[in-house]
Structure formats: structure tokens, C-alpha cells
């Protein structure tokens, strides 16, 4: 283990309570280490092996002074509000399209230094049987705390830019994002990851969302550009009465991603939708693990994941729907479809239903296969080459999931990234 907690601690002494949590969490991490396949949640992803074989010496990220980011990495020709995180640190925000009085944004670093602010988020530092979470608790330095008032609908999407530069090279970066949507509020959030060329880093990030009564949060996780990043992202959502949480994941570029989505449907008529695509080649390894917890009556959840695997890539979807004994009239659905286009690639799918109520509608399905030969023949008999035919079929296969996006301007943006990526894939 190369991670030197003592060094980190010396320069980060703060609130006594937090320091204790950090120390306890780090000890826990040290005891467990990076996850291996022995842990049920990591059955298909040996993170320890992945880190050992890709990082000679992974170090804790220290540099905090750097606030100059490369503005070329930002998205153009798309009206949006923005929050910039550079190497996990909050740099700046811009809510030009909004009524700024309705929105509160703070750097997590500041919140972690104030006793009253820390008190509000302390609960989110709970102990868990997950060494990545322990590591994050121990080493988190910055991030954001975002809140909206009740009855506020954003006019334009908000992009959180997660940018990384060369100072992040060979480092592990731990940060947290807190978002709380007030009652009847609405936000479209793009969680966007981008880095400078030729760097390799590990980003370990935890998001916590609160979606109050009647609020709608639509989140789009975009990992589009091909890069040497390794990402673990755990998102925890608490959904209250009649609220909607939608998450679309565009899982295309980085070497490694494990996304975890833990959504608690806590009150009547709340709903959760998780859809996404993976298009992987080379040695890419991406995993999505969902945990949708129906804890109240009349809630709805739906998941559709489509994946295409080439070369030696590895994709995994572990989707779990849990229905509490009180959660009658639950409607839960999940479907995973994958195309495996090379003999050395693999896709693992583990659908799980855990149901304790007796009046529920839950279903799941999972298919894995190759490109349908009849479809190829049909297209070739119209003059398309085999390659054109395959590409069109794969594009169509993944498009079906993209078509579920309900925000048309964001769908357009996502299609652009998708088409850029599929052009570079050798099918």
C-alpha cells in the first residue's frame, strides 16, 4: 500500500470530529484494501488487480493551489450553467441563466471546516462495508454542496465539469458532491468528465442527492472521451413523495468506470429511472451496479442498459430491485441487453429481485448475443458492406436506449458524443 495517510493528515487537520472519522475510515480501508472479487459487490471487478497492474505507485492527491483549468475542455454551443471542479476541487460556478437567489452553492472544503455546516452533512459520513467509501471519507478534501429553494425550476441545464490536469497524474482524488432539490423544483444535471491528454488517475467520488416532494432531477453521466482515467462513482439518492429521479449513463471513454447507484424511494409515488449504454473496446472495463430500494407503496422504477463489447473489453451490469414488505403496489422493471462482438470480450449481468411485499409487479430480463445474421443479410442485400451493416445495427441497438432521453437538447448532445465514439470503433 502506497497511500500515506499520515502525510495527508498532517496537512489537513481540521474539525476534531471529522479528523476522527478520517482516521477511523482510513484504518478501515487499510484493513480491507482495494476491493477484490471476494466481495460480493465486486464479484466481476477486481479493483485491486486493476490498480496494481495500471499504477506503479498511486499517491494521494495533494496539490490544492492550482485553479487554472483548460477552458478548451468545456462544451461549446450549448447553453448551460456550470460548476467547475478541477482535480476534484471546486473552482468556480456560473448560474447566468438562473435566478441566483434561489440557488446556494458552497465549496465542500469550506463546509468541512465549519462546525455548523459539517453538522448538516455529518450523516453522510456513515460507516459502510465498502472500502472505497471508507477511503473517500478518510481522504475527501473538496467538492460541492448545492441546494435549490422550493418551487424553483432551472431554465437551462447545469453541467458539473469534472476536469483533471497533469497534476492529477498517478494520483487518487477523493471528493463528494451534495445536491438537494427543494419541493417542486426541477433540475437537469450533466455530470461531465474530461481530462488532459496522456494522464492516468483514479477518481473516487461520492454523490448524495436529496429530492424533495414533487421535485424532478434528471441526471446525465457523460464519460465520453477516450482517456486513461479510472473512476469509481457512488451516487446515493433519497427520493421523497411524488419525486422523479432519472439517470442516463453514457459509458464510453475511460479505461475504467464503476458506477454505483443507490436509490431509496422513501415516499408515495416516487420514481427512479436508470438507463444507459456502454460501448467498449481495447481493454476497457466498465461496470454499473444499481440498487433500487422500494421502501414505500406505489413507487416505480425502471432500468434499461444496452452494451456492446469489442476486443478484450469487459462490461458488467448488476441490477438489484429491493422491495420492502410495506412497499405494496411497487412497479419495478429492468432489462439488460448486450452484444458481444469478440471472443475475448465479456459481459456479466446479474439481475436481482428481492421482494418482501405480496402485491407488486416486478420483472427483469437479460440477453447477451451477437449481431443478428438476418439483419446483416438484409442490409447487405441493399448494397451496404458488412462493416456498414454491422455498424448500423450496433448504432441502432444502442440508439434504442438513447431514445429514452426526454430532454431533447441533451439527447442531441449525447448523440454527438456517441457518434464521435462509434466512428472510432472497429466493428
Amino acid at each position: 500500500m502506497n497511500l500515506k495517510f499520515e502525510e495527508f493528515q498532517q496537512s489537513n487537520l481540521g474539525l476534531k470530529e471529522l479528523d476522527n472519522i478520517r482516521l477511523k475510515s482510513f484504518k478501515k480501508f487499510e484493513a480491507l484494501g482495494f476491493p477484490t472479487k471476494k466481495q460480493e459487490n465486486w464479484k466481476y471487478t477486481d479493483l485491486k488487480a486493476i490498480i496494481d497492474s495500471n499504477f506503479k505507485s498511486l499517491q494521494i492527491f495533494k496539490d490544492q493551489k492550482n485553479s487554472k483549468y483548460n477552458s478548451k475542455l468545456l462544451i461549446r454551443n450549448f447553453e448551460h450553467n456550470q460548476i467547475i471542479l478541477l482535480n476534484g476541487n471546486f473552482i468556480e460556478s456560473n448560474f447566468n441563466f438562473e435566478d441566483e437567489k434561489k440557488i446556494s452553492i458552497k465549496s465542500l472544503k469550506v463546509a468541512l471546516e465549519s462546525k455548523t455546516e459539517f453538522e448538516k452533512i455529518k450523516n453522510y459520513f456513515d460507516d459502510e462495508q465498502n472500502s472505497m467509501v471508507s477511503l473517500n471519507h478518510a481522504l475527501v478534501k473538496d467538492g460541492i454542496v448545492l441546494k435549490t429553494d422550493n418551487n424553483y425550476s432551472f431554465n437551462k441545464p447545469l453541467i458539473i465539469y469534472n476536469l483533471f490536469d497533469k497534476t492529477a497524474d498517478s494520483k487518487i482524488i477523493n471528493n463528494k458532491v451534495f445536491i438537494s432539490l427543494g419541493e417542486n423544483s426541477k433540475l437537469s444535471l450533466v455530470d461531465y468528465y474530461e481530462c488532459e491528454n496522456n494522464i492516468k488517475y483514479f477518481n473516487n467520488t461520492i454523490h448524495n442527492y436529496n429530492i424533495e416532494k414533487n421535485a424532478i432531477l434528471k441526471k446525465f453521466s457523460i464519460n465520453a472521451s477516450i482517456d486513461g482515467s479510472y473512476n469509481y462513482n457512488s451516487t446515493k439518492i433519497n427520493s421523497y413523495s411524488n419525486s422523479i429521479f432519472e439517470n442516463f449513463l453514457l459509458s464510453l471513454g475511460p479505461n475504467f468506470i464503476k458506477n454505483e447507484i443507490h436509490c431509496n424511494l422513501l415516499e408515495n409515488y416516487s420514481s427512479c429511472f436508470v438507463n444507459g449504454i456502454m460501448l467498449l473496446d481495447g481493454n476497457q472495463h466498465h461496470e454499473l451496479k444499481t440498487n433500487v430500494n422500494h421502501k414505500f407503496e406505489n413507487c416505480k422504477s425502471s432500468q434499461l442498459i444496452k452494451s456492446v463489447l469489442l476486443d478484450k473489453s469487459n462490461g458488467t451490469y448488476q441490477g438489484k430491485i429491493y422491495v420492502d414488505k410495506t412497499a405494496q403496489k411497487t412497479n419495478g422493471y429492468q432489462l439488460s441487453k448486450a452484444l458481444i462482438l469478440s471472443e475475448s470480450s465479456q459481459f456479466n449481468s446479474k439481475p436481482e429481485l428481492e421482494i418482501y411485499a405480496d402485491d407488486v409487479k416486478c420483472s427483469h430480463g437479460s440477453t447477451t448475443g451477437n449481431i443478428d445474421e438476418n439483419s446483416v443479410f438484409y442490409l447487405m442485400s441493399r448494397g451496404l458492406t458488412k462493416q456498414q451493416a454491422n455498424k448500423l445495427i450496433v448504432e441502432g441497438f444502442l440508439n434504442e436506449a438513447i431514445e429514452t432521453i426526454t430532454e431533447s437538447n441533451i439527447k442531441k448532445l449525447i448523440l454527438q458524443f456517441f457518434i464521435e465514439r462509434i466512428k472510432k470503433v472497429n466493428i
Binding site: 447487405m380 442485400s381 448500423l392 445495427i393 441502432g396 431514445e403
Partner: protein
């Protein structure tokens, strides 16, 4: 244009076509009629290049050995198969597919590729002529199409791609009278002295609308009788059995 000599074909050891001979000249419309299992669809499949058959004999298309031409090149060289069961391809936009197809063929013929605007204009015109609702073209390819919509879509593709040899594999089966008229209008509007048709059908009904130059009766992998369009009526009256044994 097409010359099939002593063609035998089998699949998984089962012989389907036996010493089959057929010659189609430019501008001719040939109909092949026959009962279920007589080898009609196998013939269409072999002409369009579907794999999986053991083939003997020779097929020449415009003087070239057709069996050596790859599937997509057959299409580019002007062979079009209207499928009996058009394949549903989820997520693929019909217009987008058709534009890719048309441009592949135009490129091969040394014509300028069409941009989206030019293409849409062409599609609009062709679908209007055939009284096909344009909106099926913005849907996913054949997905959720009714049987009639699928067949109409095949005919629309045919009129846009302007093949030299069009093979219609039981395009009429399962169609109502209105759809049948659209299909036959499509064929009739394309008929000219350079373009040939091979129409495979169960029933004589389609041939009331499309008058073929020749009608062949296919039984057990062999043509047992050849005649002109009156033969279709005879078949309707006497059945395949009657015509096949009366020779």
C-alpha cells in the same frame, strides 16, 4: 440479363432445387408460381446471395458469374430482392438506412451521392406516387410495421433504388386489395425495356394486376411448365397438381 443453367441447391443435405433452368432477358417480367416447399424462396435467396446452400450449376448475370459476386455488390450491380419476411432492425431509422443504401449503390454506379435534403425530396416524391405514408420512413426499420406496411416499404425501397433485376418473393401474400394495388403500381411504374422482374407468388391474384410475359410452374425444385399469363388462370382452376400432371 439472367441465365440460370442446371441449378441444383440443397440445404443441410436436403435437395431443394433440381436442374433448374431459367433465362430472363432485359425488360421481361417472369412469374414463378408453385406450391409451398417447391423451392421458390430458395431461388430468391440464392440470387440475392444468402449463405448456407450447397450449389451446383451456373448463374450468369449480365455475362458475369453471379455466384462469385459478394452480396452487397449484387445489390450495387442492380439486383434487388423484396423479402417475403422483411427483417425488423430495432433502433435503425428507415430513412437513414435507405439513404446509406442508395448512396452505396449510386457510388458504385459512378453517380454523385445525395445529401439529406436531396434524398428527402426524392423519398417524398416516390412515396407520394405510391401513396405510402411518409411517416413510416421516420420509424425504426420494419419494427412494429404491419405485414402490409413491411411489403409497401419493400416496394418503396425498390422504386428508390431503381434495380435492373427486381425479385419479388411472395410480396403479395397477406396483402389486402389496396396494398396489393400499391405493390403492383410500384412494379408497373418501374417496368421498362431495360428492367426485368422475377415475381414469385402463390396465387394468380397479383398477376391480374401485373401482366407477366412468362409464367413458370415450379414443383419439387423443377420448372414443370412454362407459358404466358393465361397459365396463371389455368393454375387457379386446376391447381398445381392438375397442371403438373397434365404435361
Amino acid at each position: 440479363m439472367l441465365d440460370i443453367k442446371e441449378l441444383s441447391a440443397s440445404i443441410e443435405g436436403k435437395k431443394i432445387l433440381k436442374s433448374f433452368n431459367l433465362k430472363i432477358k432485359a425488360g421481361e417480367v417472369h412469374a414463378i408460381m408453385g406450391p409451398n416447399g417447391s423451392g421458390k424462396s430458395t431461388l430468391a435467396n440464392i440470387l440475392s446471395g444468402r449463405k448456407g446452400y450447397e450449389i451446383e450449376g451456373a448463374i450468369s448475370y449480365e455475362g458475369k458469374d453471379l455466384l462469385k459476386i459478394p452480396i452487397e455488390e449484387r445489390a450495387q450491380k442492380g439486383i434487388f430482392l423484396a423479402f417475403q419476411y422483411p427483417t425488423e432492425i430495432p433502433g435503425v431509422n428507415t430513412n437513414n438506412f435507405l439513404k446509406t443504401s442508395l448512396n452505396a449503390i449510386r457510388k458504385f454506379r459512378g453517380l454523385k451521392e445525395l445529401d439529406s435534403l436531396e434524398f428527402l425530396k426524392l423519398v417524398k416524391e416516390k412515396s407520394k406516387n405510391l401513396k405510402i405514408e411518409e411517416k413510416i420512413l421516420s420509424r425504426q426499420l420494419n419494427v412494429g410495421f404491419s405485414g402490409g406496411e413491411k411489403k409497401k416499404n419493400e416496394i418503396l425501397q425498390m422504386t428508390i433504388l431503381e434495380p435492373k433485376l427486381a425479385i419479388l418473393d411472395e410480396t403479395d401474400s397477406g396483402l389486402d386489395i389496396d396494398a396489393l394495388r400499391i405493390v403492383s403500381d410500384g412494379v408497373n411504374s418501374l417496368r421498362n425495356k431495360n428492367r426485368s422482374f422475377l415475381i414469385i407468388t402463390h396465387y394468380q391474384r397479383l398477376l391480374d394486376y401485373i401482366k407477366p410475359d412468362f409464367v413458370h410452374v415450379l414443383v419439387n425444385g423443377k420448372i414443370v411448365k412454362t407459358g404466358h399469363s393465361e397459365l396463371a388462370q389455368e393454375l387457379e382452376k386446376d391447381g398445381y397438381e392438375g397442371v403438373a400432371t397434365a404435361r
